[in-house]
Symmetry: C2
Subunit: 238 residues, 2 copies
């Protein structure tokens, strides 16, 4: 746990932070709504550490009052290209998005992540949880859709001592839920997110430079183009 800035007497909120564009913008949105953000990042056996470094940079830059990085062994469960030894798909023209569920799907990931956010929030005295799910995600991942988020909020209000005893009702905030990638990039720019600090690539080189060819890089490039914002990312190809 790293204290990276002082609390200012405002309400706290737990913000799930991967270090990508969406969660970084979500953290900035939580701050704009008046919350002191407590950033929560998971180290879940990703194939590289660049994502965690990006999360640390973003938490510091956006003045999260704490940053908790939890190691959870999703790789022992398996079932995903992000944690297994399956190859990351390249140059597939975003075929996995908008249609089927992509193979980069991690089973029950947001349920696991939100459960830990709920637990940490209870200990920290807050029921306000932020997650950067959005319109693009929920075309592909079931646990990013609005009905899923509502069901989690309902569950959470039955799950914890503080919620059940009425002191700390749980609210799952999804400030990006109606936005496309381009919309998120425009919002992030407005809120002062430095996108050079963020990381999207599923398959970076050893120095952490984005490949420019995986699904996540393709979406990132397309988002900047559509937003009319210059992409500050240095890609290793194209």
């Amino acid at each position: 746990m790293e204290a990276v800035g002082p609390s200012r007497g405002q309400p706290k909120a737990v913000v799930l932070l991967s270090g990508g564009i969406d969660s970084s913008t979500c953290l900035a949105a939580a701050r704009r709504e008046g919350f002191v953000p407590l950033a929560l990042t998971f180290d879940y056996g990703q194939r590289h550490r660049h994502e965690l470094r990006a999360a640390r940079r973003v938490a510091a830059a956006l003045e999260a009052s704490e940053h908790l990085v939890l190691r959870i062994p999703l790789e022992q469960i398996g079932g995903s290209a992000l944690t297994d030894e399956l190859p990351v798909p390249k140059d597939n023209s975003l075929g996995g998005i908008g249609g089927q569920i992509p193979i980069t799907y991690v089973p029950a990931r947001n349920t696991i992540f939100l459960s830990f956010a709920l637990a940490w929030g209870e200990v920290q005295g807050t029921g306000d949880l932020f997650i950067g799910v959005n319109a693009l995600d929920y075309s592909g991942y079931p646990d990013c859709r609005p009905e899923y988020i509502e069901a989690f909020e309902r569950l959470a209000n039955l799950a914890t001592k503080e919620a059940v005893e009425g002191r700390t009702p749980i609210r799952v905030h999804t400030p990006l839920i109606g936005l496309t990638k381009a919309g998120i990039i425009r919002l992030g720019r407005e809120l002062g997110v430095d996108f050079r600090l963020t990381h999207s690539c599923y398959d970076p080189d050893e120095s952490g430079r984005a490949c420019g060819r995986c699904e996540s890089c393709l979406l990132r490039k397309k988002g900047f183009q559509e937003a009319g914002v210059t992409d500050p990312t240095e890609y290793s190809s194209r």
Copy 2:
């Protein structure tokens, strides 16, 4: 992951197993219902390892086809006597049970545990999840009550690829939900659970022997008495 028995062509189910009386009886109940049990145990920074050893003994004795032990860092989140450095309450005549939520409560524990069960079940091709919550628990812990379990099941059916695509609907089985501790002990005996293998104590001595005085030991003793079953446990006091 330890393979401790062959699969027999029957449907699989993920069973949450702590190594105590309830979860061990729950595992036996899953077998009686015709499932091949996949046991899932969490190492979450408990103060002793005897609970994990009990889980291994029970998984082997009751022929779980796999036993996955996941290390999750709940101690980094804090907020409980079971993971923090707070003293375990002793000799309190079960004051914490049936009234307030006990201080041994772990924030969002069952939500976290069921989320991992859901994830492992998806990878293993099953939506059948077993948890040993019961009438005694849900007087004290919000995340053991029937309405909580129903809300989790509803969430889970919106959360995973296999459930949303209709291949693997999620069912959360709670075979002990209507039973008292005495009722669970009678059921366990009927199903062949060897209670000598199970562990309940929150504060055992170095050899793993139960203290006989913590809330969990008091409930265990009372359960055997009320069930009219001889308690095979060797306690270090009384």
